[in-house]
């Protein structure tokens, strides 16, 4: 590994961490799309900042662009408050228009400035190590590393200082307000951090990847835990892991680093989405199927209890009357048999004593609809599952 490679991976990892922290809160506050809006609408801010400073890495430009991000948030909130359109429409209106203004500003001054839209949207991490920061003539590392490093330090400092305030206002804005923490201050604080991070990172990784790095690790972590601290740690780990593995993927394919990092984020999300222990799709489908069987079993037992006639209790009749497919009626029948709920005698099904007790409890629950009634039935349900 050359030193440039190490530096690229370092920058990518720092960006990932810096994005994961505000991203976690954005996802929890249901404001993920705001980060997308900010990442697009900083373009006019960057362009105007560039006219003034003539330097893509100057702190003034970052501040100006971050200001555009905050203006976006305020505009969206203002439009939403007028009640003319819904919030998502407001977001969808504001950022393309600001972005268009940015594109036109660039196009009209194409001769004077060294800046194109691709660079802003997509970034080029591979060039980051070539832009060195010189202090008194001494090379102290790439500029992006310093920029994103200081943004990260500020973010971590703010996070440590205001962790409980942010936490309370994220989960219960009303409680936060009554405890004396202004939700508005925290809201705009978070928006400011997100804007600054987006602007600081766009140069290295591009605006779209910033969105991916903010949302994807946090969303993935959210599928695995419901603990805020753990979610933050998981999100950071996923971010850093995909930053480094993405770099090597890009190295291997000779493709865009930003694209590869996003792809790695996508792969991780897909894995967790499918296989997460309790919230993954497979787990959810499995649970749904189990519950369906349980309900079927209950229906079946209740049906038996209601009918004494032999023809109603004939095995073949079940298919017609309760209208189950063959397979499921067989599963349910076996399950009930295994748990000693029913007896099958000459293809006539009848309830055992245990089955009768169970159904009367179930009816009790259905009639009263009290949670306490179902408590001891749950043990029986667990029996079925085993």
């Amino acid at each position: 590994m050359s030193s440039a490679q190490i530096e690229i991976q370092l920058i990518a990892s720092l960006v990932a961490i810096a994005c994961a922290i505000p991203g976690t809160f954005l996802v929890l506050r249901k404001m993920a799309m705001i980060s997308d809006a900010i990442s697009h609408s900083i373009l006019p801010g960057i362009v105007i900042g560039f006219f003034i400073t003539q330097d893509l890495n100057s702190p003034l430009l970052i501040l100006l662009a971050a200001l555009t991000g905050i203006i976006t948030v305020i505009l969206v909130e203002y439009i939403q408050k007028t009640g003319l359109v819904k919030e998502d429409t407001a977001i969808g209106l504001v950022f393309p228009i600001l972005f268009s203004i940015g594109v036109i500003l660039i196009a009209k001054n194409a001769n004077d400035i060294h800046l194109d839209v691709d660079a802003v949207l997509l970034g080029e991490l591979a060039f980051a190590p070539f832009d060195r920061l010189l202090i008194a003539g001494v090379d102290v590392g790439p500029k992006s590393l310093w920029i994103i490093g200081s943004i990260l330090l500020i973010t971590i400092g703010l996070l440590l200082a205001f962790f409980k305030e942010v936490k309370v206002s994220t989960f219960d804005a009303g409680l936060a307000a009554s405890l004396g923490f202004s939700p508005a201050v925290i809201h705009y604080g978070l928006m400011t951090v997100s804007s600054v991070t987006t602007v600081g990172a766009f140069d290295a990784v591009g605006a779209i990847l910033v969105v991916a790095l903010m949302i994807a690790p946090a969303a993935t972590a959210y599928l695995l835990t419901t603990n805020l601290k753990r979610m933050l740690v998981y999100a950071i780990c996923f971010g850093v892991f995909s930053a480094i593995s993405g770099y090597w993927l890009a190295h291997f394919l000779d493709a865009s680093i930003a694209g590869s990092i996003t792809t790695m984020l996508g792969v991780i999300f897909l894995m967790v989405y499918l296989f997460a222990p309790s919230k993954g799709v497979i787990a959810v489908l499995y649970r749904e199927r189990q519950q369906r069987t349980e309900v079927s079993l209950l229906t079946f037992l209740l049906h038996l209890r209601n009918h004494n006639e032999e023809e109603e209790r004939h095995v073949n009749h079940l298919n017609e009357h309760i209208n189950w497919q063959k397979v499921r009626s067989k599963t349910v029948l076996e399950l009930a048999l295994k748990n000693n709920m029913i007896l099958i005698d000459n293809n006539i099904v009848s309830l055992t004593k245990k089955g009768k007790d169970f159904t009367s409890q179930a009816i009790d629950y259905i009639i009263t609809n009290e949670d306490s009634k179902i408590e001891h039935m749950k043990d029986d349900f667990f029996l079925f599952r085993g």
Binding site: V27, K30, D88, G92, S100, K108, A212, A219, G266
Partner: protein, 375 residues
Amino acid sequence: MDITEYIQLVFTDYTLRTITLGTAILGAVTGMLGSFAVLRKQSLLGDAISHAALPGIAIAFLITGAKNSNVLLLGALISGLVGTFWIRGIIKRTHLKSDTALGLILSLFFGFGMLLLTFIQKQPNANQAGLDKYLFGQAATLVESDVWLMVIVTGACLIVLLLFWKEFKILLFDADYTKTLGFNTKFIDILITTFIVLAIVLGLQTVGVVLMSAMLLAPAAAARQWTNSLGIMVFLAAIFGAFSGVFGTAISASQNNLSTGPVIVIIAGVFVLISFIFSPSRGLLFKQIRFIKNRRDLQLHKTLAFMYHIAETHDDISHPHTIKILNNFQGFTKGTLQKLVDKHYVTLHGSDWSLTKEGFKTASNLYNQQSENNE
């Protein structure tokens, strides 16, 4: 270039005619379908889908190796649909909210698309140049066959809209009721979503991935302000969309260095702004005027009520009082007094005022009945 000259050019110049027609049709169809997206609160879906279409374009190119725009659009359509249904899956199956799902799919698909695009660029294949026009769109690359494709899709979309009009409408406003009526809501839902995706994909070549969502939203959001009827809204949105296309093309054609996509979006934005401010029933301007009017009315009533309470203590209701005693009362201004005089509720004699019979009667009934004078 003056306007008549430009209009003449639109009819004679092949490129300009194609682009103008193309953007107009595109604006109309996105406006039409955008109305449904906006009303279904799926405004940001357009943004997500247009980003999600990128890997489809790249994969279609990788498979066929040709830059046939129809094949690429098919790829975009498939990948847009995959993105849409994945978003739904995430919302339905997990506890992630819709905004997270949208942002996820948007950025992940786009990133993957970028990976593929850069991968293609490194391939030894001279054909690849120009795939990135789908990023920001280039209306200038429209040819007649593209316009024909748009016409066909718009026609299909119109037919489907007319055929399923009442189903779409009822699903839009009361999904549960639709289900109880026995309509196959899943089918209707998929149908309208597919058409929205189709419209977005069509627009990619013209305005590009990033700005497509505005094409979908802006005409619909503008049209929403003028009417409460779905039919009129769809119609208005189509017109706004078409005009944004035509004006946008005209402005970008008459200036140097202006790409069409952003100009169209800004024109559409201007439509939205005008609608927000000047729409008679919902617009901010008239709302503010109504607000001020109501406040004045209320003040008028307050002054009248105050006068009434003074006049009540006298046997003769037209007994004169000095204006001064009104001064310590909030709602009073010279203007309101003059207004009361104009309405013949009050007569003025120098610095004294007195209630007329009519004024007394109105004042005594002020809070008993809904007075008809809403002016």
